[in-house]
């Protein structure tokens, strides 16, 4: 492993296209700014690992339990429908992700 010492505001270049800048130093953390090409994905390692593990688990799981889940889902849907009757519709309820259209 290459170990370099950097001061606040200084940058490390990795190849031609990636730069890593020290933005802020705290007592127990470092804030880092990363510039990289779009095809280089940048993630916090522990988050990436967690998602990878979950994908592997989910991708190999059997289907036992699924029919029971279907039943529970339907029961819940009916309960919610019942609860919604007589209640005014909540305004501003979530309608999914925000997709910013490019100009």
């Amino acid at each position: 492993m290459l170990i370099l010492t950097r001061k606040l505001g200084e940058t490390i270049k990795i190849g031609d296209e990636i730069s890593v800048k020290i933005i802020e130093l705290g007592r127990h953390f470092v804030k880092i700014g990363i510039e990289a090409p779009r095809n280089v994905k940048v993630h916090r390692e522990e988050i990436y690992d967690r998602i990878r593990e979950e994908n592997i688990l989910a991708g190999k799981a059997g289907d036992s339990g699924l029919s029971e889940a279907v039943r529970l889902f339907k029961a819940r849907g009916q309960a919610m429908k019942k609860a919604a009757q007589g209640e005014p519709e909540v305004d501003g309820a979530s309608d999914g992700p925000v997709v910013r259209k490019k100009n």
Partner: protein, 147 residues
């Protein structure tokens, strides 16, 4: 198109149910072609069957059915990657981790699948700055009451 599936043997899949993940999925980067398989008796769940690796199949669900207030922003890189032109074209799915004990079943809300219905492109988006869990309980109220 004929697809070999993990749970249903060889089945015919409509072209419109095929998806291309240009970057694969986390942990399965080399597999880019998937098919959505719907069985009426399994609604609202669907299968996302890998075409190049028959033993790889995910159960997925609309995350808004799991968490009605689910919300995140799709970044420009993803919009470009999926060739998204209109927010209406987006379809969302969360990967479900199926477990024998149904009260322990979870959905991955930290890394949702963003799908462009029109171009049939998709990716698994990692929500780097969100507090959503990779193991969001599908039946939270159920787990709480222990029923």
């Amino acid at each position: 198109m004929k697809v070999t599936t993990r749970h249903f043997g060889d089945i015919e899949v409509d072209e419109k149910d095929l998806l291309t993940f240009p970057q694969g999925m986390v942990g399965f980067e080399n597999h880019q072609r998937f098919a959505i398989i719907r069985k009426p008796d399994e609604e609202p769940f669907e299968w996302l069957q890998c075409i190049t690796l028959p033993e790889l199949a995910f159960v997925v669900v609309d995350p808004l059915l799991v968490e009605a207030a689910y919300n995140f922003e799709v970044d420009d890189d993803t919009i470009d990657l999926l060739q998204l032109k209109d927010p209406q074209d987006v379809m969302l799915r969360a990967i479900v981790t199926v477990r024998n004990d149904v009260s322990k079943m979870t959905a991955n809300l930290l890394a949702p699948l963003v799908i462009n219905k029109v171009e049939q492109t998709a990716c698994q988006l990692i929500l780097n700055d969100s507090n959503y869990s990779t193991r969001y309980p599908l039946f939270a109220d159920n787990a709480a009451t222990g029923s």
